[in-house]
């Protein structure tokens, strides 16, 4: 059974198997409820989201709940591990390089955005979060969608589903393997080739996450600017077209693929190799590398 829906700005689907209608409906309802809850909380398109509150209350510390605290701890750790490349405060910068602008931002705009970017401009001491500069934009992209996939998968398991996959815009979390124990075969979208799957892989466990610039890159005068921006320089990073990673959870897979994208092709490849998780990288020329079983 397959349910299609849309959330967090992307097309999503819930695939379930080997269960009766009632269970499937329950699982679908639980999934919708969970993504809605997380979207309300962490969307930066909603003025009433917790995220908006966090970034707008300048100077005053806000005590956050456990779930947000855990996400912030995780983001802090990723910031540390990536030497500052992964930065949830870089929202203003990524918006500057958004494809929908149809233009390259000026140096003045970049400098202005840099002045309100930086993990050093917030204070995170669990459970208190404090923004010290006005105008900052927090961006939990790279975290929330993958986290949501894991949560939805668990919600489906709690509803009684034993076989299925949650697909939130390409970030997948496994609910359980096929009834006969075989893993699900899932497709990784081809960069820059609409609708075509570039690789079909087995998902035996956990989650699959893909970071890629193919859908959201800014193209001006034939030149492609990735939406993965270096929060230290303000400019996009030349990197892979896409990186897909399989891990125990979609969250870890997402963190790994994001960190790989942020590291650029050379360092990203060796980091992924050292990490030891199955992965597939496709660089700007379509060259593939990685050890995912296709």
């Amino acid at each position: 059974m397959r349910f299609e829906f849309s959330t967090m700005g992307c097309p999503c689907a819930l695939h379930v198997e080997a269960c009766d209608d009632a269970t499937a409906q329950r699982a679908y309802a639980a999934t919708l409820a969970e993504v809605d809850r997380l979207d309300r909380k962490y969307s930066h398109y909603r003025a009433d989201s917790l995220l908006s509150e966090l970034q707008n209350k300048v100077g005053a510390p806000i005590a956050v709940d456990d779930e947000t605290a855990n996400l912030l701890d995780f983001a802090a750790e990723l910031h540390r591990q990536s030497d500052g490349l992964f930065d949830i405060t870089a929202g203003k910068l990524t918006r500057l390089w958004d494809a929908q602008n149809h233009r390259v931002p000026s140096q003045k705009e970049i400098d202005a955005a840099l002045r309100v970017t930086g993990w050093h401009r917030v204070e995170w001491q669990r459970p208190n979060f404090r923004v010290t500069t006005a105008g900052m934009r927090l961006d939990f992209g790279g975290l929330v969608k993958e986290y949501a996939a894991d949560r939805c998968a668990q919600a489906c398991r709690d509803a009684g589903v034993t076989s299925g996959v949650v697909d939130l815009g390409g970030d997948l979390a496994l609910i359980g393997p096929h009834e006969d124990g075989e893993p699900w075969i899932v497709g990784i979208k081809a960069p820059r080739a609409e609708g075509k799957a570039s690789a079909r892989i087995e998902l035996p466990r956990g989650g699959l996450a893909t970071s890629g610039d193919y859908e959201r890159a800014l193209i001006v005068d034939g030149k492609r600017y990735s939406h993965i921006v270096d929060p230290r320089s303000g400019y996009p990073i030349e990197s892979f077209a896409s990186v897909s990673v399989v891990a125990e959870t979609c969250l870890v897979a997402g963190a790994a693929s994001t960190l790989a994208m942020l590291s650029g092709v050379e360092r990203g490849k060796s980091w992924l190799h050292e990490l030891g998780l199955p992965h597939l990288c496709i660089d700007a020329d379509g060259e593939r590398s990685g050890d995912i079983a296709i």
Binding site: N70, D73, F74, E77
Partner: protein, 74 residues
């Protein structure tokens, strides 16, 4: 030997109290501790071989764990 045992008892109780008194390290903070280089033995097979060489050539031995089996190593 009795004096050594008393010192040991005092230090162990100190360790126990210190362990109860300090702020615990949260699970997400333990990442570094799980690294290969922070294990008690990062290579148990080799650690056993190393201990065996020293045990065969010295008059005293002892590790954290039970002594296990002996050998005629000379």
């Amino acid at each position: 030997m009795r004096r050594d045992l008393r010192i040991f008892a005092v230090l162990s109780i100190g360790l126990l109290m210190a362990g109860c008194a300090t702020t615990p390290v949260q699970p997400w903070e333990r990442g570094r501790l799980a690294g290969w280089d922070m294990r008690w033995d990062s290579d148990p097979m080799q650690a056993a071989a190393n201990e065996h060489a020293h045990f065969s050539k010295e008059g005293t031995s002892g590790e954290i764990g039970a002594a296990g089996g002996g050998c005629g190593c000379n």
